[in-house]
Structures are given as structure tokens and as C-alpha cells.
């Protein structure tokens, strides 16, 4: 260890790249197991798209926990609400959805996604004020309150839309696949991957390149210290919570299009999935959440192809394996 002079740049923190290599290694390992390279490419593209969608839904949850130590069991409700709101926009514009023009389709898709985000974000505001504020700092009550919130939201959706599954057709221009030789990659998956990457890059830029992001990261690491420096971390938290809810809404729209259907119970199944992702990634870590989402999607896709029966418990096995390796998730950000 040499002494640092005052003018020397601060030593760079050591980069922890093992978790980044993990999904790459997993993907490469699967080539011989799957055999056909074209199948492998299709499956890998599918995993990426699915992973991105899960990441969009889970990113808010992990930040909310990291920043404010709030465990939101009702996060899945925002996903379902987002999807239902999108059906409202889709219904009157069926013609535009079915039109065979990318721009006409996007002219419906983009407002639908934006409206879903706005509604989910607004709902996030209400939930934060009504459900989370009174039990702030009490984990047990947070879990109970937000679980109650999830039930109420889900049942309200049932009451308003009825219990049936609502079809949500993909816009015509997003149907079908890009064909490269004997590799087929669904168009929608490409779009989903692009949106997911854009969200990831945007979050990373905000977190790492702006003052706001600096405060959020500082808050994740040490809340009291940021407060002591005079920042109103509660307001910051409200902002993060609303953004997270809005992203969950966006994820809900994308997931609904991916499955081409909307049902209130999607909040239940996705809650489990995003919990697994958030735990794998390490609570509070965006990078970990991103890798965790891809890993979960890879295990689901490869596992579903190789050993379909295993797919039922593959998430749990993956979680167990990761936690054995790193007991606090891939990246342990918080000191909690």
C-alpha cells in the first residue's frame, strides 16, 4: 500500500465482475446441451426479452427497499393495474392496433404505455401515503399492510373488469419473427429487449451521473447520513416509489402483450417472480436486479426446453444456489 498524495485521484472501487460473467457462462454452457445453435439463439433471445420485462417490473421494488427499507408486497398490484389500463386504451382503437403499419401501431402502443405508467405512478402515490407512511420503519406491519393492499387492488380489478381473462392482441406489425437463416426471433421480443435496455441504461445514467442519483445511492447506503446533510429523503423516497410503481405499470403492459392476455391474478404469479429476482440480485442493487432477471429468465427458458418438469421449481433452485454462493444476493449494497 503506497501513500496517496492529495492530488492523486481516488482509488477506483474494485469491480466485481463475477456476477456479470454468470449469465454469459450459463448461456455458453447451454450450447452443447441444447445442441442446435439456432434453437439456442432463439431461446437466448427469448430469455433476454423475458428478463428485460422482469427487470422493468422488479427495478422499482429493489430501489424502494434499498432506499427506505420498505418491503412492498403489493408491488404486483401496480403491474396488473398497468396492464388493465392499457386494455382501456386498446379497446377503442382496435382498428389502429390491427393496422399493418408500425407507426400506426406505435401511436396506440406508446400512449397506452404512458397512460399505464401515469396511473400506476399515481396509485403509487396513494399507496405510499395511505398504506406505507403510517407503518414506516415497521417491517412486520409493512408486510401485512401491503399484502392487504394487494388483495384490495386485485379484488377491485375483478369487481371493475370481471373475473374473465381479457385478451390483449399484439399489434399486427409486431407479430411474426425476424428470420436469419434458420434462426427465428420474434419481433416483439426484440422490442421488449430494446425497451428493457433503454430503461436499464436510463436508470444507470440517473443513478450514476446526476445529483439525484447520487442522493439515492447515498440514501441506499446510509439513510441517516443523507438526512443529516439536510436532504428531505422522504420526498426523494416518494419520487422513487412512484417511479418504481410507474415502471411496474410499464412492465405490466409489456407482459400483457407478451402473453397476449390480461388477468388480475398475474399480479400474484409475477410477485413471486420479481421477489426471486430481487433476492438473487441483492436487495437495493439495480445491477444485481438486472442480472438476476436475466438469470431467472434463462433458467425458465433453457430449463423449460431441456427438462420441462424442472421448470416448476427452477426459480427456487436458482435462488438457493445463488444464496449459497452469496448469502445476501449477487451484489450486497445495503448494510442491512
Amino acid at each position: 500500500m503506497t501513500e496517496l498524495a492529495a492530488t492523486d485521484p481516488l482509488p477506483k472501487p474494485k469491480r466485481d465482475i463475477a456476477p456479470i460473467l454468470l449469465p454469459i457462462a450459463l448461456a455458453l454452457l447451454m450450447i452443447p446441451l441444447i445442441g442446435s445453435p439456432s434453437t439456442w439463439l432463439t431461446l437466448t433471445a427469448a430469455s433476454l426479452a423475458m428478463g428485460m420485462m422482469i427487470f422493468i417490473m422488479a427495478s422499482g421494488l429493489t430501489l424502494v427497499f434499498g432506499l427506505m427499507d420498505v418491503l412492498n408486497f403489493g408491488h404486483g398490484a401496480f403491474i396488473a393495474v398497468g396492464a388493465y389500463v392499457a386494455t382501456l386504451v386498446f379497446a377503442p382503437f382496435v382498428a389502429s392496433v390491427q393496422a399493418d403499419s408500425l407507426w400506426v401501431n406505435l401511436a396506440v402502443l406508446a400512449p397506452a404505455a404512458l397512460l399505464s405508467m401515469a396511473v400506476s405512478g399515481a396509485l403509487g402515490l396513494v399507496v405510499e401515503r395511505v398504506l406505507i407512511l403510517p407503518v414506516y420503519g415497521q417491517h412486520l406491519k409493512q408486510i401485512l399492510m401491503t399484502t392487504g393492499g394487494l388483495i384490495v387492488a386485485e379484488q377491485t380489478l375483478y369487481a371493475l373488469w370481471g373475473p374473465q381473462i381479457i385478451p390483449m392482441p399484439l399489434p399486427t406489425s409486431l407479430r411474426g419473427s425476424f428470420i436469419f437463416g434458420d434462426v427465428a426471433i420474434a419481433k416483439y421480443r426484440v422490442l421488449a429487449t430494446l425497451i428493457g435496455l433503454a430503461v436499464f441504461i436510463a436508470i444507470q445514467l440517473v443513478l450514476n451521473r446526476t445529483k439525484l442519483g447520487l442522493l439515492i445511492r447515498a440514501g441506499v447506503e446510509n439513510r441517516e447520513m443523507v438526512e443529516a446533510l439536510g436532504y428531505r429523503i422522504r420526498r426523494l423516497f416518494l419520487g422513487v416509489f412512484m417511479t418504481g410503481s410507474a415502471l411496474a405499470g410499464l412492465g405490466g403492459v409489456m407482459w400483457a402483450l407478451y402473453r397476449e392476455q390480461v388477468h388480475a391474478s398475474m399480479s400474484d404469479e409475477l410477485t413471486v417472480l420479481i421477489f426471486v429476482v430481487v433476492i438473487i440480485g441483492g436487495l437495493g442493487s439495480i445491477g444485481g436486479c438486472f442480472i438476476g432477471a436475466i438469470l431467472v429468465a434463462m433458467v425458465a427458458n433453457y430449463g423449460g426446453f431441456l427438462v420441462p418438469k424442472l421448470a416448476l421449481v427452477s426459480n427456487i433452485l436458482l435462488m438457493v444456489a445463488i444464496l449459497m454462493w452469496r448469502p445476501r444476493g449477487l451484489y450486497a449494497v445495503t448494510s442491512r
Binding site: K141, T147, G148, G149, T156, E269, V276, I279, I316, M319
Partner: protein, 361 residues
């Protein structure tokens, strides 16, 4: 006092309410004729034990588990599969018990060692993930569990409704196998609740409460908190599996909807919170209130919904529809966590506006 492990209800009203509930349950076959009343009473017994076991976790250690229905389901399925596969004899009942209880305890041990070691905060999330995987597994392995249809089975001769033990001419009513089954359920549930009362009032139970109040301090005092929490988790799982066995015996059926579904987990949470966390007695009151409401209020909602739709009100018919019963439950749940964190028992013991008792962290 001995039988209550030195932990009496500590409130005159509460004692009275408990006595009324227990006497009413015990006398149901004679006081309230009809299959529905008996079903409701048996369900209250089973759930009182199940909720009490959950209270051991939630109320006494302050850990939220979403896997409690899994253990309940293991008990149910173990007895159902055994009786289905081996035929209606006592050997099958014994096999179900011998397989089901240790299986539940082992799984609880594995989950406890794994997730309580990692970080306590993960526990709720990991149990939720494991429970949902188990639910999918149970519905997929249809050769074993009967899939979504579940397994119906016959009870041993002695417990069947057709078996008349004491004919009508002796007491004025018939004592048949069904009533015997009811008393079996009643007695074993009561026994399990008394055992739990014993556990929470033992030195072990005091350590659990210390962990709930301040885990670091409990650890600093020299208690191995992971060991205590895991042990409590296993005990709760055992009782839950026991309740599952009783449930399956009573229904003569085990399926995903009656023993594994997430909504049962929510019911349990609600009953604990309504009755009062960290009291054990709360389980009896919570289960009684909840199941009575579930069985008799739902029809009331149907009437209200019909009235609202006839009056031409918008939205209300949908909101009041009997299927939307969970909506009101959820609102009630939030309200009771917020306004009555100590539940009915806490209220009765300390009057209004107290701050002691109950788990707040």
C-alpha cells in the same frame, strides 16, 4: 391453571367469550342440527389450531411466513393420499400421520436453516416463493395428488356417518360416526392449542418473545436466535400439518383449493390479526369470528348486491357481489392492522388505546 400453563385469558369479558365459543362448539351437534352448522364448527376448530400455530410465528417471534398453508397442505395431502391409496383403514391413517408430520417438520427445518441463516428479512419472500412452487408442484403431480381435482377418499368404518354408535332411542339423538369425527377434530384441536399455550409460556417461548422485541439483544444475551427461530418454525409446521390432517379427515377430501391456496394464507393472516397477535387465545376468537362471517355474511352480501342492482346503482352490485368477499376482507385487514394492532384480545385485555402487547416490529 395447570392446563392453561399459567396463562389465563386475563380479562373477564374475554374469558366469557372464550367459554361461550368453546361450549357452543362442543355442543354444536346437539344445539344446531344440520350439516352446515357442524361443518362450520369443525372448520372453526381446525382453523383455531392452525391460526394458533401461525401465531407462534407471527405473534411470538415476529417473523412473517407465507408458507404456512404449505404445511397445512402437506398434512391434508398426506392423509388423503394414504387413505386413497391404501383404502379406508386405520393403518392408512397412521401412515398418513407418520409420513405427513415428519415431512412438514423437515421441510420447515430446511426452509428455516436456509432463509433464517441468510437474513431474516428474506424469510417472508422466500417462504412465499417456496409455497407458490409447492402449490404448482401439487397441482402438476397429478398421478400423486390428483391435480386440480384433489383426492377424495373414504374414512375408516368407525368414522363414517352411516355408523351408528348410540341409537336415537337412548338420548333422543343419534350419535354416529360423523359426530365422533367431529369430536375427534374438536379434541385434537383443543389439545394442540393447549400444547402451543404450553410452548409459548415455557422458557423457550420467552426467548422467542425476546427475539421478537430485539433480536440483537437476545443474541447478545447468549441465545442462538437462528436455532430458536428454526425450532419455532418446525413446531408451527407440525401443528399446521396436524390441522391439515384434521381438515382432510373432516372433509374426506384434499385439494389445492381447500388446503394449499394463497387465499387460505390470507385468511390465516386475517384471523391472527383480528384475534390478536401474540396471544394464542386470539386464534380461537379470530377463527370463530372470521369463519362465521365467511359462512353467513357472504349470503348477506349476495342479498345486498341484488338489492343494489335492482336499485340501479352503478358499481355497487359488482363490489358487493359475494365473490368479492375478499375485497372487504382486505379492507378490514388493513384497517385492523392500522387501528387494532392488538386485535380483539388486546382490546379486551387492556381496554382502548394501550401500547403494550402485540408485535409491533
Amino acid at each position: 391453571m395447570m392446563i392453561l400453563s399459567g396463562d389465563p385469558p386475563r380479562s373477564r369479558v374475554l374469558t366469557l367469550v372464550l367459554l361461550v365459543i368453546i361450549l357452543a362448539l362442543a355442543a354444536t351437534p346437539f344445539l344446531f342440527p344440520g350439516a352446515k352448522a357442524l361443518n362450520v364448527a369443525a372448520k372453526i376448530c381446525v382453523f383455531a389450531a392452525l391460526v394458533a400455530s401461525y401465531d407462534l410465528l407471527l405473534g411470538y417471534t415476529g417473523t412473517v411466513s407465507f408458507a404456512h398453508t404449505m404445511f397445512y397442505g402437506i398434512g391434508s395431502y398426506a392423509i388423503a393420499i394414504a387413505l386413497y391409496g391404501m383404502g379406508p383403514n386405520w393403518g392408512a391413517v397412521a401412515t398418513g400421520i407418520v409420513v405427513g408430520l415428519p415431512l412438514a417438520a423437515l421441510l420447515a427445518l430446511a426452509i428455516g436453516l436456509f432463509s433464517l441463516r441468510v437474513a431474516a428479512i428474506f424469510f417472508a419472500m422466500i417462504t412465499l416463493a417456496v409455497a407458490s412452487a409447492f402449490q404448482v408442484l401439487a397441482s402438476q403431480l397429478s398421478w400423486l395428488t390428483g391435480g386440480e381435482d384433489g383426492r377424495s377418499f373414504q374414512l375408516p368404518e368407525l368414522l363414517r356417518p352411516g355408523t351408528v354408535l348410540i341409537s336415537k332411542s337412548v338420548f333422543g339423538f343419534e350419535i354416529n360416526g360423523r359426530i365422533l369425527t367431529f369430536y375427534l377434530v374438536f379434541a385434537i384441536s383443543a389439545l394442540m392449542i393447549l400444547v402451543l399455550l404450553r410452548v409459548v409460556n415455557s422458557p423457550f417461548g420467552r426467548v422467542l418473545q425476546a427475539i421478537r422485541e430485539n433480536r440483537f439483544r437476545a443474541e447478545a444475551l447468549g441465545f442462538r436466535t437462528v436455532f430458536h427461530l428454526t425450532y419455532a418454525n418446525c413446531l408451527a409446521a407440525l401443528v399446521a400439518a396436524g390441522a391439515g390432517i384434521l381438515n382432510a379427515l373432516w372433509l374426506r377430501y384434499a385439494g389445492p383449493d381447500t388446503s394449499l391456496s394463497f387465499s387460505i394464507m390470507l385468511d390465516i393472516l386475517l384471523m391472527v390479526v383480528i384475534g390478536g397477535m401474540g396471544t394464542i387465545y386470539g386464534a380461537i376468537i379470530g377463527a370463530a369470528i372470521f369463519i362465521l362471517a365467511q359462512n353467513y355474511l357472504q349470503s348477506l352480501m349476495g342479498v345486498a348486491s341484488k338489492a343494489a342492482s335492482e336499485a340501479g346503482l352503478p358499481l355497487l352490485p359488482g363490489l358487493l357481489h359475494p365473490d368479492r368477499w375478499l375485497l372487504w376482507l382486505g379492507l378490514l385487514f388493513i384497517a385492523s392492522v392500522y387501528f387494532f394492532p392488538t386485535g380483539v384480545v388486546g382490546r379486551l385485555r387492556h381496554g382502548g388505546g394501550d401500547k403494550s402487547a402485540g408485535a409491533s416490529h
